[in-house]
């Protein structure tokens, strides 16, 4: 009976207090939606940028030939230090913390041809581990260069996805032959599309990748363009880089302290930058979210405050005609809970809805895929609900603890 009474009361009050109910609901819906979307887009952007920044490779070091800047053991400065394929094996053998290492040759502007489609592209010669370090993942059914290809100097090619499209259009490429400088190469794999926001020898999407051994034989190359390596543990990057200077310094006779003898690009440094950047962004979004909640909370509690006078009178009237304190307070609590619940649910659905139709706008490449977080939505709702509850509960409790006549006079 008591429950029936609350519900009767509640439904009637909600119905007759449309504006008050609507405003409170709106405050909660707005706050929940705003905070959820804000954080979703923030996270999406984060994921997007960090994915793109790893398109080049994850925690790798790229090393190019350099020029000595110090005289060493009677040798003058200014010598060019170049390295060869076998140096990769030497480094792998000498440095136990070296995880993966691949030599890399690049031949620029090589003619790549399929039927009538001819393109001038960058052909890269590497070892199998290159794929893993540089996040070059074959599409379904295909593969990267393997050890046998290296050993037998096979004429096989792994195509970047854009280059494949240019050459083959809609046609399947696997198992077909492309001509590289008039030599036929079997297509063994096509790269999965990937985001790549930095590069050093052209974007992978446009490359033709062949075994390093095939390339050096075909183009008569003795020296590498560069090497790519990845220590077992990114924390050991500094140590491994020093060791590389030591090992190659010994072989090519330069001072291991001569930092210009070899050029290195450590992408973990970029990661560090991104981590700081995103830490800053999180703090910023957090503050923004907190302000949104505060503003929403002020809105909700203001509405509560605006109605307190009205509510106090209403409580006085209800008590004068026989309402018990507990009914009045329970009704208030019930009302707040329900409004919060409905407001939160609507906010939840709106943000979820926006985020699910968002991919239709095809904006992912700019802002990433915003990810809906149920816990953020629920937390935002709870905070707003609590603010509204406390803003309204104490005045309501005060009014309910007075004599009816006192409540009527307030």
């Amino acid at each position: 009976m008591a429950l029936l009474m609350f519900i009767n009361q509640f439904l009637r009050d909600i119905k007759s207090q449309k504006l008050r109910t609507f405003l409170t609901l709106f405050g909660i819906i707005w706050g929940t939606t705003a905070v959820t979307l804000l954080l979703a887009f923030g996270e999406g952007l984060h994921a997007q940028i960090s994915k793109a920044s790893h398109g080049l490779g994850d925690k790798i070091v790229i090393m190019w030939p350099g020029r000595t800047s110090k005289p060493f053991q009677g040798l003058s400065k200014g010598r060019v230090i170049r390295f060869k394929e076998e140096d990769a094996f030497l480094l792998q053998k000498e440095i136990i913390q070296m995880g993966q290492i691949s030599p890399e040759y690049n031949e620029w502007s090589v003619q790549v041809k399929y039927k009538k489609n001819v393109f001038s592209q960058n052909v890269t010669g590497v070892y199998p581990v290159f794929a893993d370090m540089r996040n070059m993942i074959p599409e379904e059914g295909g593969r990267f260069i393997n050890a046998l290809d290296i050993k037998n100097k096979k004429r096989v090619v792994f195509l970047g996805d854009k280059l494949k499209n240019d050459l083959f259009k809609e046609e399947a490429a696997l198992g077909k032959y492309v001509f590289i400088n008039s030599t036929p190469f079997l297509v063994v794999g096509v790269m999965n599309e990937k985001k790549q926001d930095s590069n050093y020898s052209g974007r992978d999407a446009y490359k033709a990748v062949i075994p390093a051994t095939t390339l050096s034989a075909m183009f008569g190359r003795r020296y590498l363009d560069n090497m790519v390596f990845k220590p077992r543990d990114p924390k050991q990057n500094e140590y491994v880089k020093e060791k590389v200077f030591e090992v190659l310094g010994k072989k090519y006779r330069f001072d291991p302290e001569d930092k210009e003898a070899l050029m290195m690009w450590d992408t973990t440094e970029m990661d560090k930058f991104f981590n700081y950047f995103f830490y800053g962004m999180r703090v910023f979004l957090g503050i923004l979210g907190a302000f949104t909640l505060i503003v929403g909370g002020i809105g909700v509690s203001n509405i509560m405050n605006v109605v307190i006078e009205e509510r106090t009178r209403e409580i006085g009237i209800k008590m004068a005609v026989g309402a018990k304190r507990i009914f009045i307070l329970s009704q208030f609590v019930f009302e707040t809970l329900l409004i919060t619940f409905i407001g939160g649910a609507v906010g939840f659905l709106i943000s979820w809805g926006i985020l699910s139709i968002f991919p239709m706008f095809k904006l992912e490449q700019y802002v990433g895929t915003p990810t809906f977080s149920a816990s953020v939505a629920i937390l935002a709702t709870l905070i707003l609900g609590l603010i509204g509850f406390f803003a309204g509960f104490f005045p309501a409790r005060r009014a309910a603890s007075l004599n009816p006549i006192q409540a009527l006079r307030l």
């Binding site: 009474m5 009637r12 309402a323 009527l408």
Partner: protein, 224 residues
Amino acid sequence: MIEIIGMTKVYTTGKVNVEALRGIDLKIEKNDFISIMGPSGSGKSTLMNIIGCLDTPTQGEYHLEGMKVAELDPNRLADIRNQKIGFVFQNFNLLPYATAFENVEIPLIFKGDSFKKRKARTEELLEIVGLKDRMDHKPTELSGGEMQRVSIARALACNPSIILADEPTGNLDSVSGAEIIEIFVDLWNKGHTIAIITHDTKISSRTQRIIKLLDGMIVDGGGA
């Protein structure tokens, strides 16, 4: 049925104490029809609020149907306000956002009546006060006399034996006032105990007994 002995009420506002009631002795029997008169500020409303269990006295005893009101807990008092006493205010005290129907229905909700029972009773009450055709109107869409009839219907909702009215015609024109008075006379004839505060001798002359208040004391009509 109502017995008040040595009742005082002191309002404390800041440093000033106002003695609104200064030793009231009063008896009201079942089916009495009394009017309370006296100059403004003499304590009429204060007395009636206490009788209606809307306020508490500073000192003195109040027996309602043999119960010592001072000893009743708040829930019991709420039940009394709900079912034993109907209160009619000078300024109506209707919920502004609720319709006439909904205003009259409120006490029935607190009583715990089912929806069907409430609907039938509310319509019956609005019929009694002659507002059946206006039950969907909000207070702002009603005249003063109509609002007062709504509040009388509300006071009657749970069929209380006692009806208290604090200047029920004070805000009304004389025609509406006269209609309201007829409603009270009718209720008296049906067996309700009625007390009305009024300045109007046309009203007090219809009652059985006139209690005169002056400076918080009864100067005439206190005994049964």
